[in-house]
């Protein structure tokens, strides 16, 4: 198997960066889980908080998207 050491480093880097998306997954799951437990305690207030839920999910997800972006940049642009 030919190739150079830079390619190897690149792919290892991409793999490591992709781990960051796991963090975002935990974050989004945390947001949704907290929402659900809150909503089950007080269902009448749940409907008014869906917008907050999605905003929170979006913010949590944004950081995972950054690591996805870095992975893509490493993979294709570097």
């Amino acid at each position: 198997m030919e190739g150079n050491i830079a390619e190897l480093g690149k792919y290892i880097g991409v793999g490591l960066t992709a781990i960051g998306m796991g963090g975002a997954a935990i974050g989004v799951g945390n947001v949704a889980g907290s929402y659900l437990s809150g909503a089950l305690r007080n269902p009448s207030a749940a409907a008014s908080q869906t917008a907050t839920l999605f905003i929170g999910m979006a913010f949590a997800e944004a950081l995972g998207i950054f690591s996805f972006l870095v992975a893509l940049l490493l993979m294709f642009a570097v």
């Binding site: 917008a51 944004a62 996805f68």
Partner: protein, 275 residues
């Protein structure tokens, strides 16, 4: 197939499984051509001139075509759909009114009463993103929102609009957005730096989130499709494509929703900067 569909009640189910079966059979019949798997998950995002030639800023490309189809979809839904003007709405009119009410309520709830003035702008963003996401899910289509150039311009438009609006409406008081009054005095400069950074990261995350989500979904589907060339795991791969496709339909709407609701949040910050 149609006889089968007529006999059983679940027409949609039968058609779905029939198509699935056809795809599986087609995959087994069509020879793969070359030995190794050909991974080209990113080819679907390429910009191509529709009528050949080099790509200048005015060239009609596949991006132009699909943006045009987006406009067509918006016109069909909101203009043709609502043309009945009926008191008791038809199906199309109901969908148009639901879309209108959905975005309007979102803007009013999140952005406040003053933000309602910018409703056409927010509605434009929502319609464009939702339609181009959903149309992009059609096979062999092109999704403009997978391109950072497109989403970046969308996000920058929001960013510039909101910043200018904030300064026009509040003057220098808009800077209070970065000066967290509820925090202890010693912490405020640190928080101000963090707030400033997060303010300027907004257009980046705003655009990358949309493009990244759409691109990732399409690329994953394409990767699964490539695996379908191996006969042994083709059924698994096709099942995975179907599952991803369902998820992508959800994501297409959620990302349009998220982009719009974040625009509303930014609008609210511009109109009422005080924490």
């Amino acid at each position: 197939m149609s006889d089968q569909a007529k006999q059983s009640g679940g027409t949609g189910k039968v058609i779905f499984f029939a198509i699935l079966a056809l795809i599986v059979i087609a995959i087994f019949l069509v020879p793969t051509g070359h030995g190794g798997l050909a991974f080209h998950p990113m080819d679907q995002f390429e910009i191509k001139a529709l009528f050949g030639g080099d790509i200048h800023w005015y060239t009609v490309t596949n991006a132009t075509l699909w943006m045009g189809l987006t406009v067509l979809g918006v016109v069909l839904l909101l203009v043709v759909g609502s043309s009945g003007r009926a008191i008791v709405p038809s199906k199309g009119q109901s969908i148009a009114e639901l879309t209108y009410g959905f975005v309007y309520k979102m803007l009013e709830d999140v952005g406040g009463k003053d933000a309602v003035r910018y409703f056409p702008y927010v509605m434009t963003l929502f319609c464009f993103i939702a339609f181009s996401n959903v149309l992009g899910l059609l096979p062999v289509s092109f999704t403009p929102t997978t391109h950072i150039a497109v989403t970046g311009v969308l996000a920058l438009l929001v960013f510039v609009f909101v910043t200018v609006l904030g300064f026009v409406k509040n003057g220098a008081a808009f800077l209070e957005l970065f000066w967290v009054k509820s925090a202890p005095l010693a912490l405020r400069p640190v928080l101000a730096i963090i707030e400033l950074i997060s303010y300027f990261v907004r257009p980046v995350s705003h655009s990358i989130r949309l493009a990244g989500n759409m691109m990732a979904g399409h690329a994953v589907i394409k990767v699964f499709a490539t695996f379908a060339a191996i006969k042994l795991i083709a059924p698994v791969s096709i099942a995975a494509i179907a599952a991803m496709y369902g998820l992508e339909i959800l994501v297409a709407f959620i990302q349009a929703y998220v982009f719009t609701i974040l625009t509303c949040v930014y609008l609210k910050d511009a109109l009422h900067p005080a924490h």
